[in-house]
Amino acid sequence: MTRYAAMFDRCREAGEGAFGAFLMLGDPDLDRSALALEALVAGGADMLELGIPFSDPVADGPVIQAAAERALRAGVRVADCFDLIAGLRARHPDIPIGILTYANIAVARGLDQFTGDLAIAGVDSLLVADVPSLEAPRFSAAARTAGLDLVMIAAPNTPASALARIAELSSGYTYCVARAGVTGADQQLALDHGSLFEALDRAGAPPPVLGFGIATPAHVHEALASGAAGVISGSAIVSRLAKGASPAELEAFVYEMKNATRGTVAHPIRMTGQALA
């Protein structure tokens, strides 16, 4: 059983949703990034979604752009990111770790080399923000060869034909966005996903995890109540780190967010689409 499947099972048995925490690897530098990553785990995050910084992140809003810029300015290389992950994996053998990056980072290393290096570092999944389902087959093939899940994004405007491709090519979970636009925290959580979750379920896609704009415990609760199997919070955590939050403060925020997943209606998890590994 993959780490994602085991984690979703555990959450379902506990009657809670999954809480995913995002940070940019190497932000603001390698040492402080390592401490911040530990804080996410200590706070009780069920899954980690970690960015490998790219110079031109077109799917990201200002908060996550700035995180990538800080890491790159600190001289963080892709290989440093692998090392950070490997350290994290050695200390935490069970937590699912996903990587979020951009296509050029993957192809610059060679797609097979990149996915292979991720697998060796202990990564479970790869999400490439600027690879839509039409361009995904070779990314999916490379991920599968390396034993990784390829995670893909579904949005309210994603047509049935694309959902079918997502179901075929992706595994682990489906990263759902409930609004148009780039990453970032909003005052109000947009939940315009209408029938997206049901459509994904019908298509046989992996469990829906909602991202983009999850910034408060109330957002977590609302998102899970709307049928998501989990949530991912990114900009809210990254902006705290940027403002100088200590590891203890980050841990407390993650704890508070995770706490909001408890007692929510658990999504009926399907076991389709898991990695072939």
């Binding site: 790219f54 110079s55 031109d56 992140p57 077109v58 799917a59 990201d60 809003g61 200002p62 752009q65 810029e69 790159l72 290389r77 892709v78 951009y102 296509a103 050029n104 980072i105 993957a106 192809v107 610059a108 290393r109 923000a129 600027d130 690879v131 839509p132 389902s133 039409l134 361009e135 893909m152 994004i153 579904a154 949005a155 405007n157 994603t158 047509p159 694309a162 966005v177 148009a180 636009g181 780039v182």
Partner: protein
């Protein structure tokens, strides 16, 4: 998508999933309009009565005389001052056809921003132009031209604060606004269908030039030469000559301060296969895949990627791409002004500089057809600075 948007191993549509329906809508509208006589008639009418097509083909009376016959395709005389107007009129009509009420665009030096602003004014579409904060500072005149035509100019402060960052910001805007907004991308790069669509809207340049040269010379040119940043004026000139095996096709990139260093924009010569701004193409990048900053005296050639069709034409050996350094482009800029009475854009003067070099090297009195893609008014202040801010001597 109906088409795969590939040029050999280059191209594609690498965008967040949420933008794919917007690209599909655009592809459908483009293909539909290509078959629609009414669209063609309206566009041709605008190109003729508003933009001033056909543009002349001018034979240089003095430059290269006795060594070569150098012809200039005078896109500098087009309304707006550059070839950009050709395709903004077409995309403006498409935007209206799709029911969009707002245009967004990126711009470097401001030429595409000015062109988009005029289309916005003409078609009554709200217009926002993203421009690197450093470019806004350097190109105050073009910023005001855009504002005069009613566009909002947004300075982009992320990254290197230039064209690449303006494209990023336009893509981010479009990711949120595609329901009512058309992204009027300015070149033959970006995700499918932009490289194909912008080519089709620029190929009027080569179509006219081919007829005009046959008319005056009774034969095809030995070479067609154009500068390449993203590559829209070059593709526009080249497309109707690709099938003419005897015509050499030469693209001229910005070699900046020299190809041995990093201060250049010579993507086709120095780039590596990568994915930027929605397409797979050659990209100037470091070992990790981080995009590198580029340099050229001409902002329009200062871009770290290139249209995928150029990468393909190079790949199959149908076109070759060379570099011209800042100093040689500036010399050609001055020579064109002094010898022909034409102040051309720095960008276009890269192409002219290579033609002048060929004229020196060749002994066969070749016919060289150069795309003078824009006029140089925007570059006059910078040129004055570059020649040391001093008064120039009159020609004796």
């Amino acid at each position: 998508m109906k088409l795969d948007g590939r040029f050999g191993r280059f191209g594609g549509a690498y965008v967040p999933e949420i933008l794919v329906p917007a690209l599909e809508q655009l592809e459908a509208a483009f293909l539909d309009a290509q078959e629609d006589d009414a669209f063609r008639v309206e566009l041709d009418g605008l190109l003729t009565t508003y933009a001033g097509r056909p543009t002349p083909l001018t034979r240089c009376r003095n430059l290269g005389a006795g060594r070569a016959r150098i012809y200039l395709k005078r896109e500098d005389l087009l309304h707006g001052g550059a070839h950009k107007t050709n395709q903004v009129l077409a995309q403006g009509l498409l935007a209206r056809r799709m029911g969009k009420t707002r245009l967004i665009a990126e711009t470097g030096a401001g030429q595409h921003g000015v062109a988009t602003a005029l289309a916005g004014a003409l078609f009554g579409l709200r217009t926002r132009i993203y421009m690197g904060a450093d470019d806004v500072e350097r190109q105050q005149l073009n910023v005001f031209r855009m504002e005069l035509m009613g566009a909002e100019v947004v300075p982009v402060t992320s990254g290197g604060r230039t064209l690449k960052d303006a494209v990023n910001e336009a893509l981010r805007d479009w990711t949120a606004s595609f329901a009512d907004t058309h992204y009027l991308l300015g070149t033959v790069a970006g995700p499918h269908p932009f490289p194909l669509m912008v080519r089709e809207y620029q190929r009027v340049i080569g179509k006219e030039a081919r007829e005009q040269i046959l008319d005056v010379e009774g034969r095809l040119p030995d070479a067609v030469i154009a500068c390449v940043g993203g590559g829209s004026n070059a593709i526009g000139l080249f497309s109707d000559f690709v099938g003419d095996g005897g015509v050499e096709i030469i693209g001229v990139e910005a070699a900046g301060k020299g190809l041995s260093g990093r201060d250049h924009g010579a993507t086709l010569q120095k780039g590596r296969l990568g994915i930027l701004h929605g397409c797979e193409t050659l990209v100037l990048q470091d070992e990790d895949g981080q995009i590198e900053d580029t340099w050229s005296v001409s902002a329009g050639l200062d871009y770290p990627a290139v249209g995928p069709e150029h990468a393909h034409l190079q790949d199959i050996g149908r076109a070759r791409y060379v570099g011209v350094e800042d100093d040689d482009a500036l010399s050609a800029f001055q020579a064109l002004a002094r010898s022909e009475g034409i102040v051309g854009a720095f960008e276009s003067c890269h192409a002219l500089a290579h033609a002048l070099k060929l004229a020196e090297e060749r002994d066969d009195d070749p016919i060289l057809l150069v795309n003078l893609s824009g006029r140089g008014d925007k570059d006059v202040a910078q040129a004055q600075h570059l020649v040391g801010g001093k008064r120039l001597k009159a020609v004796a």
